[in-house]
């Protein structure tokens, strides 16, 4: 492989990992540009959209494209590419090593195990139930735990096993609504207690990354990618809202 091709491959792979794991567009462009600059190819042309990357080197004859078909959220990979790019910029690693390490990222970067994510979702639900509404009934905390944990488990399973977008949010919010419904129907919860449980349990499902990136991309002048992310965020919120609306109409 000649050097120009390696530069191109490295930059495209770095961009691909960043974009597929929840980075904002400006960071993708900036990182790829830096890789090309530091490898001695200045004035590379890089064009990044939410769904694909195009890159050409000024003296080269070819332009290469990488489509991004699916996006998940794994910010540790974003941080890892960032670290590697910094090490390359300060000459700690050379280009072939950089490329090899990028190819290792898919397997080498640790993710939190499911039980810890589940625990985290429960903590988010319980603490925010209390922070938003205070404790007027301790049994409410137990329900926040059940609803938040159950909702996130369904969300995780549908996302990772069935891979249907937006259905995961919808089913999770159905579960959350159902747990709160049980509390109200059979355990004599007040309406406000039921509301508190639902609000807290929904928080782990909030599409925080799409919302933040929609804002940052639009602000940095990416008027195609920013609004596209906003569509993603709005659809997630609508899926959650639909599930809750169905359960609430049963009360």
């Amino acid at each position: 492989m000649d050097e120009a091709q390696l530069v191109m491959d490295t930059a495209l792979l770095a961009g691909q990992i960043l974009l597929a794991n929840g980075s904002e567009i400006a960071r993708v462009e900036d990182t790829m540009q830096r890789i090309a600059d530091n490898a001695g190819y200045r004035y590379a042309n890089i064009f990044v959209l939410l769904t694909g990357i195009t890159m050409s080197l000024p003296d080269g004859e070819s332009t290469q494209v990488r489509p991004i078909h699916s996006r998940t959220i794994d910010l540790e990979k974003v941080a890892q590419v960032n670290t590697l790019s910094r090490q390359f910029a300060s000459d700690e690693i050379d280009l072939p090593t950089f490329y090899q390490q990028l190819r290792q990222i898919e397997v080498a970067v640790p993710t939190f195990p499911f039980w810890l994510q589940e625990l985290a979702a429960i903590i988010v639900s319980m603490t925010l139930t209390v922070a938003f509404t205070g404790i007027d009934a301790p049994v409410k905390l137990l329900f926040a735990m059940l609803a938040g944990g159950g909702g996130y488990a369904v969300f995780y399973y549908v996302n990772h096993e069935l891979r249907v977008r937006f259905l995961s949010e919808f089913l999770a919010s159905l579960v959350i609504g159902f747990v709160a419904y049980v509390g109200i129907r059979w355990l004599g919860f007040t309406r406000t207690a039921g509301d508190a449980v639902i609000i807290g349990a929904l928080m782990p499902l909030v599409p925080g990354v799409p919302i933040m990136n929609a804002f940052r991309d639009t602000m940095s002048g990416n008027y195609l990618s920013g609004p596209a992310r906003a569509v993603e965020a709005v659809l997630s919120v609508c899926a959650i809202g639909l599930g809750i609306a169905i359960m609430v109409s049963l009360w």
């Binding site: 890892q80 985290a120 988010v124 922070a131 609000i199 990354v209 602000m219």
Partner: protein, 151 residues
Amino acid sequence: MIHIIIEGILAYAATVGFGIILNIPRHALNVAGWIGAAGWAVYELIVLKSGAQIPLAQMAIGMLTAGLLIGVLSNWAARVKHMPVILFNIPSLVPLVPGGQAYQVIRNLVTGHGNIALDYLGQVIAIAGMIALGFLLSELLVRITYRLRHV
């Protein structure tokens, strides 16, 4: 005062929890948690004396300040720890999300109280807009300090 400290601890736990869900690097979790706690504590401090029904204007100022603080602290943490800024500002934003109001919009729409739903929708938009404005201002502050340091 104790109230604010407790709420701060809760916000810390919530931020770390959300950080785990997003799989941010382990050594960024603690800092992100503190930023989340600081943001929520400032908001609580501003709306402290307003009782159960917080006036919208006061809520808006609280959110603006919290967004500004989270933005500045996240940028600072990103620079010190050499990490992307989104690792810090996304999780710490979670306690501020107007989840309660958004839920009330849906509940009131479904139960046929359109007027109340519209009222809550206004609150959701106001809060989200204020947080965004706070972030913009923080970005501005960071740019200005960068300029001052590098001229």
